[in-house]
Amino acid sequence: MLVKLTVNGEKHEADVEPRLLLVHMIREVLRLTGTHIGCDTTHCGACTILMDGRPVKSCTIFAVQAQGKQLMTVEGLEQDGKLHPLQEGFMAEHGLQCGYCTPGMLMTSFAFLKKHPKPSEDDIRWAISGNLCRCTGYVNIVKAVQHAAAAISGGA
């Protein structure tokens, strides 16, 4: 089945089996391997991408369901060679250890900060409650998101 979709502003199309999961299309057909597959059972959120602006777990949606949709993956954060404030924040605050959950954390936080530019710590913890960090580095992840929120609202 022919699927046409837009990823990070770029149009793509591919002939795929209906059972192909969106995360497999992203990683194996489009070769965008920034999006990770963690638990593969809808729990961990490593595969989180944005579909029409909303974070979704791309291991739990078929590629054919993304027909005509606007997707954004972690590769879409950097603009013109400049890292997004969230990426800067994760670096500055050591928001990653093994880095496996990071793409999902970044995409969830990206959508969250658009809606909640000045979040409390509790708000952030609530927002990332569907993303698991097996290194349990949540303290620094929260700090990284706070760092980005400050940078964005400060106009940096």
Partner: protein, 292 residues
């Protein structure tokens, strides 16, 4: 994990969708948010030969009050329910529930209709809708019919929907003045199914006595449970500690949990007792505060 192969259909009208379901029969499953169905397919616990994706059908979205009901389109995402102003201000039981279903990312795809049509006793909306006395609107090739929620859950993962019917809307009666509700869920972690959860909706009379009570139980039986004896015990009574204690004990008696990783039978029944009492206090407090 790769699901078994299937044929994908994306009809653009309800008529087309129900005709497809009528033709394909038991080989077809309706795909709504997919947050329960797709994991089951990946685990090969479900291997439907056909998926009928209803997401492209217009008119199945939205939350509005009309004709004495809060009318929730089946494709309404849980996150939209959670953010709905009308739900937040007038339907605290529904709002409570929307905040604890799965996790925030899953809620961006998961639908209210799917949560009910899946017939999983561990899902959260069934107990809430039992407490609210909702009705299910189903459409099939022969037209529309309404199913009272109390008769909707017929067995484990089984509902009153016929194979060629689609759940299109949920209707929650607009609560009278001095109504309030609460949903309390104990879960080991965000995203886990409830160890147990309790939905309570009460309406108080002008004198403060309980006129109407609805109590639904999550994940403590083969189907979602309506704790009818506990509900009846509250009618006409002031919602004081002795009435709450009695209703909580009756709710615990109505629970038929099985022991698993989340706890023993005794633990879960006692949890129902505690959660019922707490939910009743919270619901009564909200009803007295004039929240709908």
């Amino acid at each position: 994990m790769i699901p078994a192969a299937f044929e994908y259909h994306a009809p653009s009208t309800i008529g087309e969708a129900t005709a497809l379901l009528a033709k394909l029969g038991e080989d077809a499953k309706v795909l709504s948010g997919g947050q329960s169905l797709i994991p089951l397919m990946k685990l090969r616990l479900a291997s439907p030969a056909h998926l009928v994706d209803i997401n492209a059908i217009p008119g199945l979205l939205g939350i509005r009050e009309a004709d004495g009901f809060l009318r929730i389109g089946a494709l309404t995402r849980e996150s939209d329910l959670e953010e709905s102003e009308i739900v937040r201000t007038r339907y605290p039981l529904l709002h409570d529930t929307s905040k604890v279903i799965a996790d925030p990312i899953v809620r961006n795809l998961a639908t209210v209709g799917g949560n009910l049509a899946h017939g999983d006793p561990a899902n959260d909306h069934p107990a809430t809708m039992l407490a609210l006395g909702a009705e299910i609107v189903a459409v099939g090739p022969k037209g529309e019919r309404r199913i009272p929620i109390a008769t909707f859950f017929t067995g484990p993962f089984a509902t009153g929907l016929k194979p060629d019917e689609i759940l299109v809307e949920i209707r929650v009666p607009v609560p009278p003045a001095r109504s309030g509700g609460a949903y309390l869920k104990l879960e080991r972690k965000v995203g886990d199914f409830a160890t147990a959860a309790v939905a309570v909706q009460v309406t108080l009379g002008a004198n403060g006595a309980c006129e109407q009570a609805g109590i639904g139980l999550t994940n403590v039986g083969l189907t979602p449970i309506k704790a009818t004896r506990a509900e009846a015990s509250l009618k006409g009574k002031a919602l004081d500690e002795s009435a709450i204690k009695q209703a909580a004990e009756l709710a615990a008696q109505a629970a038929e949990p099985s022991a698993d990783l989340r706890g023993s039978v005794e633990y879960k029944k006692d949890l129902v007792r505690i959660l019922t009492a707490r939910a009743l206090r919270k619901a009564a407090e909200r009803a007295r505060a004039g929240r709908a």
